[in-house]
Symmetry: D2
Subunit: 350 residues, 4 copies
């Protein structure tokens, strides 16, 4: 073994702390087979592209990229001109945790909306259209939502359709940051197409990395007028893998035999198990409904401090005493139950 | 096996057509070991960072990124203000094949220089300093060279030191696009440090992907005043892997036991074997000295056409009848000899 | 006469609707005197630069530019790197009415703060520093305030000093959009230096156009480490006048014999006269304290509609029934009194 | 008089060294007449817009801006996407003297062409189309020419039409930097429409400042699909004057009664007078044909040095001993003859 790594404790900090699902790792190994054209002109990428059409509909065009922020920037860039704005929740990943990439790489204004549970409503769009046509103001042209949201909640197909309708009625397009799209589909028990193509989304990302891939995301374009620009923007945005077959192979493996759903549904179930386990713990309460693989809870600082000696997790709002706990495809019931035991002990001695 | 892939012919088109070296793939598999912190706070990344210091000197700070264009953009962004310019060869990858990322993401002018064999000389720097201090002109602040160059040639340690001296004397910094740095070190039989740290380079990239990695490059910073900015620029430039351990593990594997040198030296030898094999073929001649893993040759269009039915390779300058043939870590003497046989046959019947 | 212009009614819409003060127009005419070097190498510009030092202190360096948004962008660009953020009021001109120039030209995030009467407080700065050092977040490096604010209120010298102290303590710089700096100094009866240099501002703009110039603003830099970059950024930002003498002459005329104060104090007085005149009109009330040349008032929609048949002014918030009335150097007591008469009549019949 | 200015010697350095033509100054003074709407909603601007249609055709839409670089950036931004390139002469103002605004504000690559006498030919366009469709390369979408060129030469109507045809055939648009468009029309004795609208230009600038205005340029859009974006881009690009009437009035005055042609023709004649006067001076020779108001000549360094003690002018290429002399609307035959006398004396004693 090359690296004599430390063994880390089980992490409840992020689905990015999990490793690679064995099936996906096998797909990478299997793709290491002789020479193949670079930059996507290979058969693994062709298979991925076909799979995208099978899953999201014949009009869907999929483009593999390297990470989630990259998928967002490429997907958004397709729809944005020089003086445009994006309407999004003030908790949106593009607004808070992508180091200003939206402003710098896209050059656009983010019109950030205060939300309940991280979800935009049609009225939020309508309330931000006053400046349309006014040359002194940035022009909103895209509405961007996160599925699941940064607060772990999910938009139902009907909620997405209503947002799409409001956006389209005003001449705006609807973008979805689908870094955890699989978790949302698993929550609703619906197909991926039902909450994207069928709901009127124009461009979205489909996240692989948080759901068991090594590093693989897809930009999926449903508006055919936008497709031609993707290869150029993907290249310029530093998101084009040279040995693309290894990225495409990951995404195909995830989409095959509903591995995406099995992984996401399991992670979601572990979050519910965790949330259910703390309902009766004094001093601890949920701050968001648990609809994906995240649990947001308030707990006394001393409890948080005790737990962080043995577990990895993040404060979400330290001043308010809110923590975020996340589960992943590889979280086991035993992991959760051990954590719950420790939570109860810490709370009891607090 | 998930994908029933087409088997492609042996490629002489690009070192990106090669797969992953088995040792590096093993390192990826070995890193898939329980949970680990994301974004580089893991032990594999710490080991990679230590390895960079071991190889390039105690003052070197390494940052793993996702691809070569990304490594260039992050490394250059460190050194560039709002009205700056980069002096580079007109064949430089940043100038020709990164889809305008330098202009768009960095927002700077490229002062492109006509060169012999793709190599800048100190006089090229000095000739472009007239506008320093003139507010109507972009201000050159960085000289960027490619090692090996896009034409397969290499800068010697002395040549680099002379460029560094000229650049520094004028207040400019020296950047090196080291996508094929290993091939250059192998060509000179020197260490990696001799053609980077010891030669006065300020920031460079160290390429892994073209030398046997799946997707892994490093930005190495030798000027300590520039280090603090890297994490922010890497994140904003969409080059931060969430499951970083798998990127770091590739780079560590490449740097361990001189795997980088063995891979590069082998690829170089295969290029020499190919070049040597065509010296006596009528109608074919080399256009560049062979100093790394690329062979540039003129050949009659009909010969190129015949060969492209069985082999993958690119025209470099179709009008001039110049092709580029590249070798990789996995090119075998048999591959080369078979190719040479076919070249001779095609030339004979031309 | 070349243009047979329509005669417009007296405008209460904007101080930009006023013409040019006769003294300033005379200065333009006087500058039309033979040849002179372009781009600021002329004696009128030298005189302007001296005047800036006389007014703002020996360490102040003034640079003439073409408009207010230009002054803001040049001044802010001096202080902002690639992954930075500006803390500002959500009513700030740079955030609302410069067509996204901050995001596009500067490439930075605006951290917009809800305020009372448009004014930032030190606590607003401190509350936005949590992400400092986190590479996933834009890094606040500049606090920008407007003097007077977009809501017509003014920061006192002490309030500015407190903001400067908070900003500097955290390593941030303080920028002031001084499009109406003269109105603020007139309001406090203090010198221009007292609310800029002496209060700890690092870079500010000094507005001429809204106070009687044709088109002339200045960027004033108090931090000597920032001065060298201005000529380059001014040129690149399209804010360098070729026949600079005519811009410099305007600014010198405004700064000479306190013309700036006379103009601004008069405009302020007219705003007070207007505000005083409506205190007893039923259905109309002020929404902001009147501290410069703007009056914000709620009035019934039918009253607004009636008045707009005869006067130019803007709705500020149409849904809330708030209008903005502005006065200028050329507003006369008769203008105000006529307007008040019409306001009373419209209100009486509403 | 406010400023006790130094009296400068007659300048042969730039048409920007001239002052304002009396008729244009009168137009400014005449526009200072009561209140008027800001930002272009005034009657002076309406008159200017009508005049543009009268001069350039009913389909032409004119937008007044503040300076030449601004006119270029607004006009080019209309036509450029995120991964585009501009084909231009390597002497183009946008490439050499706008401080990198094209790269930074537009974010695009300049494909610079070596030219004879500063003029692009259709073959130059065709030679740069190889990368169209290749996602690794910036995509040329605009050809930009300067009229007159930076070397004082002019494109004939037929030459422009041929460039437009080549550009359009390849799907590119043709932009013209018309900072000295008037000088070109005067040279050919044709109307402004003949070398713009009728020749197939899509977007161009019409320069006022170098031809007698204080500060006034126009962006003229002939492709109706591009018009809607101008107000937003002009505002964002910091090129929108608030007291627009004073800019519009200048442009109207210049376009009225062919003042533009009288000014430009006079300047051109003075350049010819100067060029004719040096033909027999030993050691001095022209390096470019004189087709507008610029004279490029080689002269011995000692002669240049002697002359620069009494006259303002620029070295164009100091190493090559080339100077640029420019004339303006206010250059008199006496100015030229005095200068010629001094040139002859300096040459005689050299």
């Amino acid at each position: 073994m090359l690296i004599d790594s430390t063994t880390y404790p089980k992490s409840f900090a992020s689905d990015n702390h999990a490793g690679v699902h064995p099936t996906i790792l096998e797909a990478i190994v299997a793709a290491n087979h002789g020479d193949a054209p670079a930059y996507g002109d290979d058969s693994w990428t062709a298979a991925f592209e076909d799979k995208i059409k099978e899953v999201f509909g014949a009009g869907a065009e999929g483009f593999a990229v390297l990470n989630g922020a990259g998928a967002n920037m490429v997907g958004l860039a397709l729809m944005l001109g020089r003086y445009d704005a994006i309407i999004c929740a003030n908790s949106a990943h593009i607004a808070t945790h992508e180091a200003g990439a939206a402003e710098r790489l896209l050059g656009v204004k983010l019109m950030m909306v205060s939300t309940e549970h991280g979800k935009l409503r049609p009225a939020d769009i309508e309330a931000r259209l006053d400046g349309l046509g006014n040359p002194h103001e940035s022009q909103p042209t895209v509405v961007s939502i996160s599925q699941a949201t940064e607060l772990g909640t999910c938009y139902s197909p009907d909620e997405i359709a209503a947002l799409a309708e409001s956006a389209h009625a005003a001449g705006l397009r609807l973008h979805m940051d689908g870094a955890r799209l699989a978790n949302a589909a698993a929550y609703f028990g619906c197909g991926l197409k039902a909450i994207t193509t069928d709901a009127g989304v124009d461009v979205f990302s489909f996240g692989g990395t948080k759901n068991g891939a090594l590093a693989a995301e897809a930009v999926v374009v449903l508006d055919p007028s936008l497709t031609d620009a993707v290869p150029f923007l993907r290249r310029q945005s530093l998101q084009l893998a040279s040995k693309m077959r290894f990225i495409s192979a990951q995404l195909s493996a995830l989409l095959m035999d509903d591995l995406w759903r099995r992984n996401a549904a399991h992670a979601n179930q572990m979050a519910v198990r965790l949330a259910d386990g703390i309902t009766d713990v004094p001093g601890i309460s949920l701050t968001q409904p648990v609809q994906s693989n995240a649990v947001f809870a308030t707990l006394p600082p001393i409890v948080a401090e005790t737990l962080r000696r043995r577990y990895l997790f993040h404060h979400w709002d330290e001043a308010a005493g809110i923590v975020r706990w996340m589960t992943a495809f590889d979280t086991t019931p035993e992991h959760v139950d051990d954590f719950l035991d420790d939570i109860r002990k810490a709370a009891a001695t607090a």
